[in-house]
């Protein structure tokens, strides 16, 4: 790490996270000016233009890559047009013990006076809830599912390499050509397209001007700078900002800055869920890196320094804070920018290069919360790259996570992508598969699969509250056998999915009508060609996803009921349901029997794993392939972020012996502590489902540090990963930490500020985690050395 990077890193780590009301004030003033005078897309573009013209810009000491979304590093704006925080929300954010966002009392007062009154009744969130049926609302409040878009815009956007080849001026020319070709006679929707294209053009112009403001600021700073070395840097920054993103970048520095301006504009335009990612950054930068070395204008060290500057920039941008239920769903500063490494090129060759290695080194040295790297391993990926990644994994920060590039391609092909688009795809957010630069991937929320089983066991009623939610699918005493119960499970599942999908279709339309994203649309193929917005079917691919949570808990619960009620007759179903409702009070032997004497998923035990296949099949049947409103289809993934803790709180005791309120299983992983046959058994169990049909399956494995001490152990980890991928696994990520370390960190958080652990599809500082999640990580099986 160079001294510059050490200083920048330290500043990024030490600066407290604050909330800035500047964006909210500007957006409010701008909306007042434009509302009703323009089409919605043009209005949104004008708001973006006003923002990029008026918001404070920042040029920090030591910086080489410039630009912040807020007025200063770690200063986070709000997006009142989507979700307007109340004064109470802001006060709570400022004072909560974890993941706080500081804000001055006078700013809260100003927010209350100027922002809140205007947006009341005008936000996307309110519009969504107006459309919610009582049935949907009851299910939502019972924790049967969540809804992402009540808080944030659709995200998961990752880019392809277009921005490095074509500047925004060139994109404006494309837009102009497309506008000129419109014919209202041949195309009855030409006018709508024209408005959309005009909006895109305004947005491009605004982003170019925004870069220009930075150029001017840097030039001014250069003029005043006494130190000749810094003066030269500032002049260079000014030159870079004059060049990109208006024009295509010509060198490594310009390429990084071009991406960064585009990134900032996207996350200023809207608060997309799972922010924004550059996609295959190593592949995008490789030509600039090699050219720089060849021409003698770049060294490995300089490239690494620039990459480190970029890395810190991402870390300067904590996630915009949420309100209400989702605070516990996802309590983290992480905004999920994921850097895909290695993988495949669109031509099918290995994407690994020296830049891959550089980025791994940067991630390892900087040890920041964001961004988080993922290694994409294809059969063509050199072993040396995988070993380098394993060496970083061994450090125990939880990253890089590891993906099977060849399976990702299969998944994308199965979802209808072309081969080249599939290869250029990868993962964003946690583990979600998408075609980079060509897809709008709407993750609509999480589905509580164990809750669905709870409804099936209790005639459609919530076991915690007794409230009827789903269809009357039969009282426990009426089930003649396991098949009857399973049929009730499928009935409840279909009902829950249809309830969610029905509402999501309304939400998709609300979003497209109220909050289009003209700048993001410029970046994603084929929005310009179609003259349609990112949110409205403009992209080449338009998918809607439901993330299914707790499949491990659901499978083990089904297995327990089958084994102990229907096979061994140890108890009757009504008695079991009564025990669940009473959280096993006075039934400890029964609870332990269910927990310990049941074939459980994660042990390479066919009895449980066949049930996993069956539940997965039922989920696919209920969700996969339904049409959405944007010309695309619904798919599923197995992913929970931290929602498995929230869903557990909303769940009575379950038949796998889990107590009421405890977390359900995370991602696609086995229930915490239920996998007792070692990691190979876990991998074999999960590989029994056809993961190519999902848009991502998340697996957590935890090892004790002793397992990975030697070099030979590292190679064994690499072979473990390769074998899982040979068995068609999608993803695996590792925690390398023992219980004692975590317990120590709980006792003395101040001494363990830097302890990074893998939570869900991301790492977080252990001491920043909600205590429920801390305990959940401790409950995960820690595989020991053999």
């Amino acid at each position: 790490m160079t001294p510059r990077i050490e200083r920048l890193r330290e500043r990024s780590l030490q600066t407290p996270v604050t909330l800035s009301i500047e964006r909210a004030l500007l957006v409010t003033a701008s909306a007042k000016r434009h509302l009703g005078r323009h089409s919605v897309p043009v209005m949104r573009a004008l708001i973006l233009r006003d923002l990029l013209t008026a918001q404070s810009i920042h040029l920090g000491q030591d910086e080489l890559i410039v630009g912040e979304r807020g007025p200063a590093p770690r200063s986070v704006p709000t997006f009142p047009e989507w979700t307007c925080h109340s004064a109470e929300d802001l006060r709570r954010l400022a004072t909560r013990p974890r993941i706080a966002y500081r804000i001055e009392a006078e700013d809260i007062a100003r927010y209350e006076a100027e922002v809140i009154p205007f947006w009341q009744g005008r936000t996307v969130r309110e519009r969504i809830f107006q459309e919610a049926s009582p049935e949907w609302r009851a299910a939502y409040e019972a924790g049967l599912f969540t809804e992402f878009m009540e808080q944030r815009a659709p995200g998961h956007t990752a880019l392809d390499g277009t921005i490095y080849r074509r500047g925004l001026l060139e994109r404006r020319a494309e837009i102009a050509a497309r506008l000129a070709a419109l014919d209202d006679l041949a195309d009855p929707h030409a006018f709508e397209r024209a408005e959309q294209l005009r909006a895109m053009d305004i947005a491009c112009e605004a982003v170019i001007a925004y870069a220009g403001r930075h150029a001017a600021l840097a030039a001014e700073a250069a003029a005043a700078e006494p130190d000749p070395a810094r003066k030269a840097e500032l002049s260079r920054i000014a030159a870079v900002c004059r060049r990109v993103p208006a024009h295509a970048p010509r060198d490594f520095w310009e390429a990084l800055q071009a991406y960064w301006f585009v990134h900032l504009a996207v996350i200023t335009e809207l608060n997309g869920w799972d922010a924004m990612s550059p996609g295959h950054l190593d592949q995008h930068l490789r030509p600039f890196y090699e050219q720089g070395l060849r021409e003698g204008t770049l060294t490995r060290e300089k490239a690494k320094e620039l990459l480190s500057c970029f890395w810190i920039k991402v870390n300067n941008h904590p996630a915009p804070p949420k309100v209400g239920v989702t605070a516990s769903e996802s309590g983290t500063y992480n905004d999920f920018t994921q850097i895909n490494l290695a993988g495949l090129t669109p031509e099918g060759e290995s994407g690994a290069s020296e830049v891959t290695t550089l980025l791994l080194e940067v991630a390892e040295e900087l040890r920041l919360l964001q961004p988080q790297p993922s290694l994409h391993v294809s059969a063509r990926t050199p072993e040396s790259v995988l070993l380098e990644a394993c060496r970083v994994i061994r450090k125990g920060f939880g990253y890089p996570s590891v993906f099977n590039a060849d399976l990702v391609v299969q998944e994308l092909l199965a979802a209808g992508k072309t081969l080249a688009d599939a290869r250029e795809g990868g993962t964003s957010g946690c583990i979600e598969t998408g075609a980079f630069g060509k897809e709008a991937y709407f993750l609509t929320g999480y589905l509580n699969v164990p809750k669905i089983l709870e409804l099936a066991l209790n005639d459609g009623c919530d076991l915690r509250t007794g409230r009827p939610l789903g269809p009357r699918s039969g009282k426990p005493e009426t089930f003649s056998g396991f098949e009857a119960l399973y049929a009730a499970f499928e009935t409840q599942l279909r009902w829950a999915v249809e309830l969610k999908v029905r509402m999501s279709h309304r939400i998709e339309r609300i979003v497209a009508r109220m909050c289009p994203a003209p700048f993001l649309s410029v970046l994603i193929h084929d929005c310009i060609a179609r003259g349609r917005d990112y949110t409205d079917g403009g992209p080449r691919y338009n998918t809607s996803f439901i993330a299914c949570v707790g499949i491990g808990t659901a499978v083990d619960s089904l297995s327990a009921v089958r084994t102990h009620v229907f096979e061994q007759g140890a108890t009757s179903l009504p008695r079991l349901v009564a025990a669940l409702a009473g959280d096993f009070a006075g039934e400890e032997p029964l609870r332990l029997r269910l927990r310990n004497r049941t074939p459980r998923y994660g042990n390479d035990d066919e009895r449980a794993d066949r049930l996993l296949q069956r539940v997965y099949g039922s989920l696919l049947q209920a969700i996969d392939g339904r049409p959405n409103t944007r010309g695309g289809r619904w798919h599923l993934n197995l992913l929970s972020t931290t929602c498995h803790v929230y869903f557990g709180r909303m769940l009575a005791a379950s038949a796998d012996g889990r107590h009421a309120g405890e977390p359900v299983s995370d991602g696609a992983s086995p229930v915490q502590g239920a996998d007792r046959s070692g990691p190979t058994a876990v991998l074999r169990s999960l590989s029994r489902i056809d993961q190519a049909r999902a848009g991502g399956t998340l697996l957590n494995l935890r090892f004790l540090p002793e397992v990975l001490q030697g070099e030979a152990d590292l190679a064994k980890l690499a072979r473990l990963i390769r074998t899982y991928f040979r068995l068609n696994g999608h993803h695996v990520q590792f925690n390398i930490v023992d219980d004692e370390t975590l317990r120590r960190a709980q006792r003395r958080p101040e001494e363990h500020r830097d302890l990074l652990v893998r939570v869900a599809g991301y790492s977080d500082f252990f001491v920043d985690l909600d205590p429920g999640i801390q305990e959940e990580i401790l409950r995960r099986t820690a595989h020991a050395a053999g």
Binding site: E588, P589, S677, R684, L727, A785, G786
Partner: protein, 322 residues
């Protein structure tokens, strides 16, 4: 060998029913320290040695079939109800097995919902074992791994071991045998024909010290090692390093000289003594041995490795450059 030594096991006749079923105390998948690659290690019951530092006391045949952990017990009585011979007795808040009536069937442990009763052994049929060992075949293939038989002393169940090795060989799975070498030479030769790698324990050269530390003479062990080496068997010699017992300069120098004289010099793995087994001893109702002994210091390990290397041996310290 003196009259006081337990007799080394001999090969039983073909068709011996014990070839169809063996006594196992543990099967560990993703074993990473018992030979090359990712392995499954099968721990077989029984051992003619009684090493002071033994890390796997579960091998002992004199243990009760089931041990009880009072912290887990919820007092439900399922174990007592399940026992066909009335050997499982609840008295004074404790569960106890009457050895005179216990037929070692393990039903009480199977019935326990709380996992308070734990089996110390399990009879496993050969086909079941092979089916289990085959499960991780893709992991063996990717990593150059396979199956390791350990114990106890795997050669203490000769017919079962040979049959299992044979079965794995037919499946193309790499086989390692972790042995004390205290076995009938004919049996060892039979095993060698079905084994790809021996992890051969060398606990000391001095016969008196060896007897004191393990209960048996080491003459047979050293002869067997020389025979295997001469026969061209793949060998890794594993030397447990126990402070105050076998880590003296002259002990190591003698071992180095002996190994250097073998027809083929084997690589040596140093296995530092550790205390991780103390919990197991307590669970089994046994007093952990050598409670006053500390694991060897890193410098001592390196010194030992240097000394052995000076005999032209390739030495690795387990957990480091393994």
């Amino acid at each position: 060998m003196t009259a006081f030594d337990p007799a080394p096991p001999t090969v039983r006749a073909a068709g011996d029913p014990s070839a169809a079923e063996g006594m196992v105390f543990h099967i560990m998948r993703f074993a990473t320290h018992d030979g090359p690659g990712i392995r499954t290690t099968v721990f077989l019951k029984g051992c003619p040695l009684a090493c002071l530092w033994c890390h796997n006391p579960e091998h002992r045949r004199d243990l009760p079939a089931v041990v009880w952990d009072g912290r887990r017990c919820v007092g439900c009585g399922a174990c007592v109800a399940s026992c066909p011979t009335g050997a499982c007795i609840a008295a004074a808040g404790k569960i106890r097995l009457d050895p005179s009536r216990c037929r070692r069937c393990g039903r009480c442990a199977d019935a326990c919902p709380a996992e308070a009763l734990e089996r110390t052994e399990r009879a496993v049929r050969l086909e079941t074992l092979l089916e289990t060992l085959e499960r991780d075949l893709p992991f063996y293939e990717e990593s150059g791994g396979g199956v390791t038989f350990s114990g106890g002393e795997p050669l203490a169940q000769p017919a079962f071991l040979l049959a299992a090795l044979e079965g794995l060989g037919r499946r193309g799975i790499h086989r390692a045998v972790d042995t004390s070498g205290y076995a009938d030479p004919g049996l060892l030769a039979a095993a060698a024909r079905r084994t790809d790698l021996f992890l051969y324990d060398l606990k000391g050269i001095d016969p008196v010290k060896h007897r004191r530390a393990t209960g048996v003479d080491n003459g047979l062990i050293l002869e067997n090692l020389a025979r295997l080496s001469a026969a061209g068997a793949e060998l890794v010699v594993r030397m447990p390093l126990v402070p105050g017992i076998n880590d003296g300069h002259e002990d190591l120098a003698a071992a180095g000289a002996f190994l250097a004289r073998l027809p083929r010099r084997p690589p040596v793995d140093l296995l530092p003594y550790h205390r991780a087994a103390a919990g197991k001893y307590r669970r089994l109702g046994l007093e952990p041995p050598l409670s006053g002994t500390s694991p060897p210091a890193a410098e001592a390990l390196e010194e030992a490795a240097r000394l052995l290397s000076s005999f032209g041996l390739t030495v690795r310290i387990q957990g480091e450059a393994s």
